[in-house]
């Protein structure tokens, strides 16, 4: 239907009517007027007819959106701030909750994941979870609560291929492991009952070492020197995401092969050979974890009764859903981060509300005029809704973009230690939720002016002339409360981030001269029949030390390992059973101390040719065990066995955080490597004269020249190695800092919005004041004071909230109290300064008001 046609029709109608009227004797002018009167509202008739053919609401929506777009374009500052607020709120939360979802909530990639449980015994004396082989077989035989049970052990083993060797993550699995996880081979078959010395490759290893050539099946490769037959390859999609057992080493991402476990009923017997194994089981569908626990407790206590001794007395059964075990301690960190996200969303919504309220104030007159010239209330509400919608759409689109960027950044910078982080993708539920929430905020607060504009005050608003909103103290109060609330929430977030930043600084604090960036570390693990005995191992390392010392760029070099943990056993000091402090026994060459830049506190250094059994202890050991007495010349025993040799303490060295940055210094004992029985795996430490990585490469070559079949791996600077130990904390810090920064920006924007509005509102009053002689400084102070009263109230509430809430992040902190006064003072000051800056800009503008213009502005 064409509008022209319709109009033509109408005109024709009116002409005929006019003619009829003339025939009745009216004057032409009266006749036309009467005809028009009779026809009624032409525009209305056009619209109604048009509506027969068109869906009008869609048209109106399009028109409203167009108008809204124009209105926003005319107000780019408001639009930009509102869209940025929405984008930050939507984007950051979607990204973070997507991570929480992937890591915490998504089921494991195995069948019946919700019924999988983790079984372990927790040894209270050694503070670790461990299941011995014999326990596993007893459980498997006796327990009725489970459909299936499987065991595995994760280790870093050496895989020997023809002419090459890899040190890589290898999982030893019991025969029912793959059936338990519902895995299928891509070629060959998987390890099952009856297999011995069989190996299953991951697709990655198969592609790397064999070029994905199926003829690899049936060939043998050596695993720590023992030949194993390749029986199959796993599909690319299969992933190892199970928890590690107590003895497990490496990272789940590094697992490249599966071998038959050495835990078999034949090899395992109590009191003789026992290996530690990780145990997973699948609950019968009709049973709960609680019921299974009851049965397992009975089995466990029967075992303990039949095998009296400290091992079982100190062990408690543990059973928990596998998902819970896997997420473990990270749950706390993730929930705290989720809380931080919720805070940011809260601030974003408060900001949105504030912005829209201030805009509503500025538009009251416009809306009143539109109402006065006949705009229907529903039509005006639709218009305001369209504006809210336009903002929300723009903010949503920007938010989705930001969410994608943020998620990519999170995965890229995230630590390997967070399980399944790499699988995170934008979660549509989360995105939908945040979109709906922020859209609703936009709509509700955007509607405010239309709803509050009753016909009664229409005249009042119009009469009020150019000055706006002076009749809405209630609205201003809401805005002040929102602003104070925003600041309070921002302060809590900032304090949390501040505490973590301080923890981080403490972790990274090195003693002077330590210089971990100049130290290269690498691992050597001796495997195979050539290195079974200690003399062969010593011979290898003696030769290694000679060649390393001769390698170019090596200033100092040494070897060390943290071989064993045990209870302190010093002659002349006795502890009640189980109360002795624990210590770590390290074996090291004399060069190690030089390479690490360690400091001698008392006594003398060790040499590489000690005539008698000798040891160094560290400061912590001396303090904990000997107090103020001198430890030099005292004797300790390395192990509790009858044939342990008394070893004389010849010196004390300073504490060094060299293995984990986020651990407190603990008692340590250093033994000369020739006297130590545990030499298979050593860490090489080299202090480099030049480029550390070039020196590392030279050192690696020097070691390979001794025996190319022994792999040298994890070549990196000590700085990197240490950084890895705090990667999860760094990740938490990074996330919390991002949230805190977003909160800070949003709340500053909020204050600025409120203050600009207040100044705009009072332009007339300020003009009067200045005309009456108020000085610029006085106006400035008055406006700033008004804002700062609200800001300081918000900050005070925030400090209270932070005191209550930072306790929750105590577990994420290191050497910092959750109520650390410097952090609290610093964050409160930061926010105060930020608030002041946000107040001063509008105040400055107010003080520059030209009284003449302000008074004339009616």
């Amino acid at each position: 239907m064409k509008l022209d046609d319709l109009n033509d029709d109408f005109q024709h109608h009116i002409e005929l009517e006019t003619r009829d009227n003339i025939e009745r004797g009216m004057s032409p002018a009266d006749a036309r007027a009467a005809a028009l009167r009779k026809f009624g509202n032409l525009a209305r008739a056009t619209e109604d007819t048009y509506a027969v053919w068109h869906r009008l609401w869609l048209d109106r929506l399009r028109q409203d959106l167009r108008y809204a777009w124009r209105a926003l374009r005319n107000n780019p500052g408001f639009a930009a701030i509102a869209i940025a607020t929405l984008a930050l709120g939507i984007g950051m939360n979607t990204a973070l909750f997507s991570v929480v979802n992937a890591v915490l909530l998504r089921p494991l990639p195995y069948p019946d994941a919700d019924r999988l449980v983790w079984l372990a015994t927790y040894n209270e004396r050694f503070k670790l979870e461990a299941v011995t082989g014999p326990d596993y077989f007893d459980w498997k035989q006796q327990a009725q609560s489970f459909d299936a049970m499987a065991g595995y052990e994760v280790g870093q083993l050496t895989l020997g291929f023809p002419g090459a060797a890899d040190q890589t993550g290898v999982v030893g699995v019991t025969p029912d492991f793959f059936a338990f996880l519902g895995a299928r081979p891509s070629i060959g078959r998987l390890i099952g009952p009856g297999d011995r010395n069989a190996i299953v490759l991951t697709h990655r290893l198969y592609a790397r070492r064999f070029g994905a050539d199926p003829s690899a099946l049936g060939t043998t490769i050596s695993v720590n020197g023992v030949p194993h037959t390749i029986c199959g390859v796993l599909p690319e999609s299969f992933r190892f995401v199970l928890p590690f057992d107590a003895a497990g080493a490496g990272r789940a991402e590094d697992v490249e092969a599966y071998v038959t476990s050495q835990v078999t009923p034949e090899t395992q017997s109590r009191g003789r050979t026992m290996r530690i194994v990780a145990v997973i089981a699948r609950l019968r569908p009709e049973l709960t974890v609680r019921q299974a626990r009851a049965e397992m407790e009975t089995i466990h206590s029967n075992i303990a009764r039949a095998n009296p001794g400290p091992f079982y007395n100190d062990a408690k059964l543990r059973i928990q859903p596998l998902q819970d075990k896997l997420v473990g301690e990270r749950r706390g960190a993730l929930l705290i981060l989720a809380g931080a996200g919720a805070f940011v969303l809260l601030i974003a919504c408060a900001n949105m509300a504030n912005l829209l309220l201030s805009r509503a104030g500025a538009r009251q007159r416009e809306i009143a005029i539109r109402a006065a010239i006949g705009a229907g209330r529903s039509r005006m509400i639709a218009q305001l809704l369209a504006e809210g919608l336009a903002l929300s759409l723009a903010g949503g689109v920007a938010g989705i973009g930001l969410a994608r960027l943020a998620l990519a950044a999170l995965i890229h910078f995230g630590p390997q230690a967070v399980p399944r982080l790499a699988e995170a993708s934008i979660d549509l539920h989360v995105l939908g939720f945040t979109l709906v929430l922020s859209t609703l905020t936009g709509l509700i607060f955007g509607l405010g002016p239309a709803i509050s504009l009753s016909r009664a005050n229409l005249a009042g608003v119009l009469k009020d002339g150019g000055r706006i909103g002076s009749a809405s103290p209630g609205r201003l109060r809401v805005r002040r409360i929102l602003m104070a609330g925003e600041l309070a929430v921002a302060l809590v977030l900032l304090t949390g981030a501040g505490l973590m930043i301080r923890s981080f600084a403490r972790m990274n604090a090195h003693p002077p001269g330590f210089a971990p960036e100049r130290i290269v570390t690498m691992q050597v693990a001796l495997t195979g029949p050539n290195y079974r005995g200690t003399p062969e191992q010593v011979a290898y390392f003696v030769q290694a030390l000679e060649r390393l010392a001769a390698a170019p760029g090596v200033r100092a070099s040494g070897i060390a390992n943290s071989a064993q943990r045990g209870f302190v056993n010093v002659e002349g000091i006795s502890y009640p059973d189980g109360q002795a402090p624990q210590t770590t026994y390290n074996c090291s060459s004399s060069g190690y101390f030089t390479a690490m830049g360690m400091r001698l506190v008392a006594g003398r250094w060790l040499t590489d040719n000690e005539p008698a059994a000798a040891a160094l202890i560290n400061d912590s050991f001396a303090r904990v065990v000997f107090g103020s007495a001198s430890p030099i010349g005292r004797r300790l025993r390395v192990a509790n066995g009858p044939n342990s040799i008394p070893t004389t303490i010849v010196g004390v060295v300073g504490d060094l955080k060299y293995s984990r940055l986020d651990a407190e210094p603990a008692p340590e004992v250093y033994l000369p490597f020739r006297q130590a029985p545990f030499l298979r795996r050593m860490t090489v430490m080299i202090r480099a004269a030049g480029d550390p990585m070039a020196v590392g490469a030279a050192a690696r070559q020097a070691l390979a020249s001794i025996d190319p079949t022994q792999p040298v791996f994890e070549v990196q600077t000590l700085e990197n190695a240490l950084a890895d130990t705090i990667a999860p904390r760094r990740f938490n810090l990074f996330l919390l800092a991002v949230f805190a920064a977003v909160a800070l920006v949003l709340s500053v924007v909020g204050i600025y919005g409120v203050m600009s509005y207040a100044v705009q509102q009072r332009a007339h009053e300020i003009g009067v004041r200045m005309a009456l002689g108020a000085r610029r400084g006085e106006v400035l102070a008055m406006v700033a004071r008004q804002g700062m009263v609200v800001a300081l109230a918000g900050i005070a509430v925030g400090v209270g909230g932070a005191l209550a809430l930072t306790r929750l992040i105590a577990t994420l902190l290191y050497a910092v109290e959750p109520t650390d006064p410097p952090t609290f003072i610093a964050t409160a000051l930061t926010l105060t300064v930020a608030a002041l800056a946000a107040c001063v800009a509008p105040a400055l503008r107010a003080s520059r008001v030209d009284p003449v213009i302000a008074l004339r502005y009616e």
Binding site: D9, H12, H13, G40, A45, D48, W53
Partner: protein
């Protein structure tokens, strides 16, 4: 003027169809015809005539074509379609039942 009544909702459609039974006509003629045949009792609100015409076109009961009116001017002429003719019968029947029922309710004594 006091004798004039406004049309009931929906009855305008029926009256238009009835008017067009006599042959194609333009909007003004349809209005005139309704007013004349009701002896000036029914007042056709002209603002609603055209939306009603277009509603009927959309339902396929009438069609519009260009023609030349009595004042030698190009105008839209509306014509009853076969579908519209059937609909007229249906609507007339319905109306008679309705009118009779209302009459019985309003004057139960008679």
């Amino acid at each position: 003027m006091s004798t004039r009544v406004e049309l009931l909702q929906g009855t305008l459609d029926l009256l238009i169809l009835r008017t067009l039974q006599a042959g194609p006509a333009h909007g003004h003629a349809i209005m005139k015809s309704i007013e004349r045949n009701s002896e000036e009792t029914l007042l056709v609100e002209q603002g609603s005539l055209y939306p009603a015409l277009h509603r009927l076109i959309r339902r396929g009961w009438i069609s519009a074509e260009d023609g030349v009116s009595e004042n030698n001017r190009r105008a839209k002429f509306y014509r009853l379609t076969p579908k519209g003719r059937k609909q007229l019968a249906v609507e007339t029947g319905k109306w008679e039942i309705l009118a009779a029922a209302i009459a019985r309710i309003l004057r139960p004594a008679q």
